[in-house]
């Protein structure tokens, strides 16, 4: 029995990718047996790999997560890395704490997306292809985080891009879907070609594709070669594009906005997998010998911080003025990506210096914890957006309203997601953002302040969405009440995990995030298991916070009960007071449309908004310009900065 289990765990990395692949290819055949059979089959296609990933994660994390496990395809253990003329012939998977961390995240989101799809997408045709591609995206994301071979990474990158763009065009009755899909497809394909150039440069120089061998070859030089620096610039640009970082974020809202809601949740995991690829490039591919690459990695850290600040700020300010609910959330996805780039960028910028132990590690912990939190709450928010669109048939916030009266559970899930993304205590988003705020403040106080400002603006724009969608009088045109059970189940999975993470953030950090940070940096941190999360200069305990809130609530209730019951106003006194303005015109209540909620803010900042909105031109040539310009800038920085100083 133990032998069978050991064999299973040894083969688990391959099985986790191969089983969903088999399910994806069989789905068109199984679909002939009926819709119900197909749905269950697709669910199994996500559930079985998720269980495998869970068992693998348990096994990897129980041994600390720092040790990398290699799974070599098509080889037995005696010839694990068979060298032919100094070159490895086989593809290998490399699994460590960071890989299984990402694998768990992808599994949770994919599970809720596939359950949610069952009711959401029921009314469309071509569902066999839909589930087939959904499983392919799931496989590609898992492959991206498990692989230890840079060309294999490219293959998964392409599979994920192509499948996602095909799924974006799934609602084929809308021209906008095709536009979003085509933009994403071309953007991601050109990025893929740049990726291929980088691989070619490294392969031409070192003759290896295996990340471990490449890494030791790069670290074995006297100093970094020009080829390494150019490849680094290309790789970082490409992954930053797919992660949706400003200024290469333009295609992201187009694709996220048009894809069906569960696919948008999958888009989020795909962009997190690309973030993982950035971190792997920095820490693993170029991190084997810091005496050689340390300087360049510090520069990379500052570049990631700059990209992070840009993404956070531009993302959130653009989100504030959107009136399409999914585009708004897509801009928030960009903005939240900035937090992860910022956190890990700070860690990279001070890697191997005294400051790393002081605040760099905390920043990295916050950034990586935020990856998981972001995938959960952003997935949940996109699913609630899907539920709202399912019921109303529109994406325009100005045309919605009054849904809170019939869709109470959706509203509840929306509140959970919105509080988490805005970083309001006691949600999980607060825990990870607290780690980022405190450590980044020590790195640079201004950057820390920007991070907090962005959180405020995030809250402001979700208040706008809540106001526009759920508040107001019940509307006769949006009939039907709550969405079907499968959609609620999909949302409940993510909502439940968010609540668990919110109550026990420190346990998640010690058991999942710390091994991931250890695996990236090769530095084992101190781990203390307790319910309190320590940020280096402060601490956070959700249970204490909830206790304090409860005590305050009880005191408030007591005060309320001691009061005089006769003072409730009647008649005119009950009407809302809007600074002396009338609340009704010709008997109809005045409703401020969602576009006008932050009129004052956007008008005051019109000097910022006019050029920024002009830059978001929706022209593909401009998108391409930003990508190529960023690639050129990054390569020049890596190549020439040290020459100048």
């Amino acid at each position: 029995m133990m032998d069978a289990y050991d064999t299973f765990i040894n083969n688990a990395p391959a099985l986790a990718v191969a089983i969903p692949l088999i399910f994806a290819f069989s789905t068109p055949l199984v679909s002939k047996l009926g819709d119900r059979v197909r749905n269950i089959f697709a669910l199994l296609g996500v559930l079985i790999p998720s269980l495998i990933i869970f068992l693998l994660a348990f096994d990897v994390l129980s041994s600390g997560g720092m040790e990398t496990r290699y799974y070599v395809f098509g080889s037995d253990s005696s010839t694990r890395f068979p060298l032919v003329g100094g070159h490895i012939l086989r593809i290998a998977f490399a699994v460590d704490g960071m890989s299984v961390f990402m694998g768990l995240l992808i599994s949770v989101v994919a599970l809720s997306a596939v359950i949610y799809s069952m009711a959401y997408i029921r009314r469309y045709s071509g569902l066999d292809k839909y589930y087939s591609l959904l499983l392919l995206v799931f496989t590609a994301n898992l492959g991206m985080v498990l692989t230890g071979d840079i060309f294999n990474l490219f293959v998964w990158f392409e599979i994920s891009s192509v499948s996602l763009s095909a799924l974006t065009a799934f609602k084929a009755n809308r021209g906008e879907s095709f536009e979003g899909a085509a933009k994403y497809l071309i953007y991601a394909s050109v990025a893929g070609l740049f990726f291929l150039i980088a691989i070619g440069l490294l392969y031409g120089q070192y003759g290896h594709l295996n990340i471990k061998f490449l890494s030791s070859a790069i670290g074995g030089n006297e100093e970094m070669m020009m080829v390494d620096k150019i490849a680094l610039g290309l790789l970082v640009t490409v992954f930053a594009l797919k992660a949706g970082s400003v200024p290469m974020h333009m295609a992201t809202p187009d694709a996220y906005g048009e894809a069906p809601a569960p696919i948008t949740a999958m888009f989020v995991t795909a962009s997190q997998a690309s973030l993982y690829a950035i971190f792997r490039t920095g820490f693993t591919l170029y991190g084997s010998n810091l005496t050689v690459t340390g300087e360049t990695l510090h520069i990379l850290g500052y570049i990631l911080v700059a990209l992070g600040i840009l993404s956070m700020f531009v993302g959130v300010t653009m989100a504030l003025v959107q009136k399409d609910i999914k585009r708004l959330m897509a801009y928030h996805a960009i903005s939240q990506t900035g937090y992860m780039l910022l956190g890990v960028g700070v860690g990279l910028a001070v890697l191997d210096t005294a400051q790393f132990a002081e605040y760099g590690r905390t920043a990295m912990t916050g950034g990586i914890f935020h990856i998981f939190n972001h995938a959960l709450y952003k997935g949940l928010l996109f699913l609630t957006a899907g539920a709202i669109i399912y019921r109303t048939g529109t994406k325009d916030l100005n045309k919605m309203g009054g849904l809170g009266r019939d869709m109470k559970l959706t509203a509840l899930f929306f509140i959970i997601g919105a509080l988490a993304i805005a970083g309001i205590p006691p949600m999980n988003g607060f825990a990870s953002k607290l780690l980022i705020y405190e450590s980044v403040f020590k790195f640079n106080p201004i950057v820390g302040a920007i991070a907090m400002l962005v959180s405020l603006l995030t809250l402001a724009s979700f208040v706008k969405v809540f106001y526009a969608v759920f508040m107001g009088p019940r509307r006769s045109e949006f009939k039907g009440g709550e969405v079907p059970a499968s959609m609620l189940t999909g949302m409940a999975i993510l909502g439940g995990v968010i609540l668990v993470f919110s109550v026990f953030p420190s346990l998640v950090v010690t058991s999942l995030v710390d091994p991931a940070v250890n695996a990236l940096t090769y530095i084992e941190g101190e781990t203390t298991r307790s319910l309190t999360l320590f940020t280096g200069s402060g601490s956070w305990n959700t249970l204490v916070f909830l206790g304090a809130v409860m005590v305050a609530g009880i005191i408030g209730l007591l005060l309320f009960m001691m009061g005089n019951k006769g003072t409730v106003p009647k008649g005119e006194g009950r009407k809302p007071y809007l600074f002396g303005n009338p609340t009704e015109i010709e008997g109809r209540p005045i409703v401020v449309p969602a576009s006008n909620v932050y009129w004052g803010f956007t008008t005051a900042l019109s000097k910022y908004y006019k050029p920024t909105e002009k830059a978001h031109s929706a022209l593909f040539n401009d998108y391409m310009f930003w990508f190529v310009a960023t690639a050129a800038l990054l390569i020049s920085i890596f190549a020439f900065l040290e020459v100048l100083t």
């Binding site: 064999t7 083969n11 391959a14 099985l15 191969a18 692949l21 088999i22 290819f25 069989s26 068109p28 055949l29 799974y71 070599v72 395809f73 098509g74 080889s75 037995d76």
Partner: protein
């Protein structure tokens, strides 16, 4: 779709067999000579598309093709899976084994008279995967080309 002129149809009839056989040759010799499943599959797909376009044949079986596509992909993945019977994913369990399917041993180096000389039915799962990829590419590219043809004809009718 309309039939094309008799010149195109005659040339199609003449060219169909040789191109098809050449494509099959490229697929089957994938492990010995340049080319393989994709290249040979693309050749066969081009001649299939030529047939459908030249004869304006609308009886091409979309469902059958979809099924064949899935079967091709499944064969590829299963070949990887069956390697687990020998303990490792993608392990080449056929090469040199007793299963009489692409299992011939490649002779030792002294026997070489030509750099590409080896038995055709060698290389085990590599050949199986080449055939699977060939099937997938034939069906996939044919579907794409014929679908594009149908769309362009539909556009002309609408004018």
């Amino acid at each position: 779709m309309e039939r094309m002129s008799s010149v195109v149809r005659t040339i199609t009839k003449v060219a169909f067999g040789p191109i098809f056989i050449f494509g099959a040759y490229i697929i089957l010799h994938g492990h010995l000579t340049p080319g393989g499943g994709f290249q040979g599959g693309a050749l066969i797909a081009s001649v299939m598309a030529l047939y459908f376009v030249a004869f304006g044949d609308e009886r091409w079986k979309k469902k059958l093709m979809s099924t064949l596509e899935s079967i091709g992909l499944l064969t590829f993945a299963s070949a990887g899976f069956l390697g687990l019977t020998a303990g490792f994913f993608f392990f080449n369990f056929l090469a040199g084994s007793k299963i009489p399917f692409f299992n011939e041993q490649i002779p030792s180096m002294e026997g070489f008279v030509h750099p590409n000389w080896a038995p055709l039915f060698s290389a085990g799962t590599v050949s199986v995967m080449n055939i699977a990829v060939g099937l997938e590419v034939v069906v996939g590219i044919t579907l794409v080309v014929v679908a594009m043809g149908l769309f362009s004809f539909a556009g002309k009718e609408g004018e």
